[in-house]
Symmetry: C2
Subunit: 319 residues, 2 copies
């Protein structure tokens, strides 16, 4: 397989596009495609202030790199979740994010959950019923809350995440298998701002995971290669596997699945029957962020529960 642009040996073959590219042309192609998606889906403009959710992984660092190269004004926000027990996952990922930002002279804010709320995510998940002992639910809640709060408080025009097609197709697969109508209505690469919720977009939603990984590698970005230590056994990974077996049988299956969903949605096929999308948003009486709850938002309620269940030994520790 040779590069379609210049004929030298290709470093990547994207079977769904019948496209092989050499290193140089692949490193051009990803930003060009990203710019095309940004325009096609009216994501954001050059004069907007963009907040990138940076995890230290291949997707978010590649995205930040591409946005910077394309001339967008994109600042980073890293959230330290405290996933360090035995793995140094948070320590290492924060280092990747900080080194990336320093090298390129980009602005990165760091928020540590433990400094903010008194507990790391693993500690918190042991003290709440939410997530039934797994930290994923508390973690997602915290990330959504903090990202939204900072995007709004600091007047960013848009909050940008590095979700790739594999991520999006896996979420869509789960929503579809359960015909979760509310989530299906909300799933989109562009979510408009409403009642206190920042605008959210996913410029990488049409790239396969292997493409963002190849981009990070070929661009020489130092990212954290480890999966989140709590990802093992996650349903989303199982859905990714299923989709990969379908992709292996029929190249392009994942992309076609997601794009045909977007087309069906645009055509007005998905009605509004039981959509959560229409649920009115109120203001949390504790933090002022939007919520569908009557008084206090899920974030505030969860942390209140966590603090109330703090063990005596932890309260009194001096180490």
């Amino acid at each position: 397989m040779n590069c379609k642009k210049c004929g030298v040996k290709a470093v990547i073959n994207m079977r769904q596009h019948k496209l092989g590219l050499c290193k140089e042309h692949f490193l051009d192609w990803i930003p060009q495609q990203t710019q095309r998606f940004i325009e096609k889906y009216s994501m954001f403009a050059k004069d907007e202030r963009i907040l990138v959710a940076v995890s230290g992984g291949k997707d978010s660092l590649s995205l930040w790199d591409v946005l910077d190269r394309l001339g967008y004004h994109a600042d980073g926000l890293y959230i330290n979740l405290g996933f360090d027990n035995g793995t140094d996952y948070s320590l290492k990922s924060q280092q990747c994010a900080q080194t990336f930002a320093e090298t390129r002279k980009l602005s990165l804010q760091v928020v540590a959950i433990e400094a903010l709320e008194g507990f790391s995510i693993p500690e918190a998940s042991r003290l709440t019923l939410r997530g039934q002992g797994r930290p994923c639910s508390v973690c997602g809640l915290a990330k959504r809350h903090i990202l939204n709060r900072i995007a709004r408080e600091q007047d960013y025009g848009v909050l940008v995440t590095g979700h790739n097609l594999d991520d999006e197709a896996a979420v869509l697969f789960g929503n579809t298998i359960n015909w979760a109508t509310g989530y299906l209505m909300r799933q989109s690469p562009v979510l408009e701002a409403r009642s206190g919720l920042a605008r959210k977009v996913k410029p990488f939603f049409r790239f396969y995971e292997r493409e963002t990984a190849a981009y990070a590698l070929l661009r020489g970005i130092d990212y954290i290669h480890d999966e989140c230590p709590y990802a093992t056994g996650a349903t989303s990974l199982y859905y990714k596997e299923l989709l990969n077996t379908m992709e292996a049988k029929q190249p392009g299956a994942k992309l076609s699945f997601f794009l045909s969903f977007l087309r069906a949605k645009e055509s007005g096929f998905l009605g509004e029957g039981s959509s959560d999308d229409l649920r009115e948003l109120r203001v949390c009486q504790s933090c002022g962020q939007p919520t569908t709850a009557a008084d206090t938002c899920a974030y505030c309620r969860t942390w209140e529960q966590i603090r109330s269940r703090r063990p005596k030994a932890v309260e009194g520790r001096h180490t």
Copy 2:
């Protein structure tokens, strides 16, 4: 695992219902559940004339058995497709259907495609572009056409097929993966009659394939065990496999997938954006059956093409 009703050793464990049953109680349970589905989905009444599409396989013969036991007036229709080259598939399946009908003194009509149109399905598929050499497309077209014509001409109130949950979930999976909005709108265990199309219902749509197979075996029904010789490599079998891996991981996944789809539909979630369902039906100028085409229906056009491409050697054969 013991029978939930009487405590003796169970012959089947239906994990999605957390229900084990002995032979006797399973043979009662299937008709009871069928009656429940017939009522729940307003399928048909005791005084209606029912036409059962009988293939000679486990699903259609079990269904016919159950409808007869429940006191419904159900006649059978067997279509001989001419799948006999090397396999005797049609010969054997017709024998199963006829023996079943004779033993129970039930009325069975037999229609042979070759007698009706001059070619078996495998011969026809070699002479048409439809299906690209695979007989499945011509076969499906012929079966739908003949079943509908006979149901309408002979004034049956409803046409009943033995599709089980595995069949329906696989079709739904394919339609969903492609977000085939028109097909998603039409997929239902009950399709009401409209402009020349008979009413169609699937009373077994909530039974797993292994349950209809177990019913046929335990009831002593002699059915054809072979798969259709042309099924190998069919996409629907691949989807069934994928769904089975999901079912193995989470018992009830198939049922929940299909039922949540029906709920989403009932809630009005699926709109009418690009639905084929709304396409006006016209009358075929050749056979008088309903069609979305402007003049001649796909069935008539296909057989016209087949006859026009008949090889000279076949025309002149005397054997």
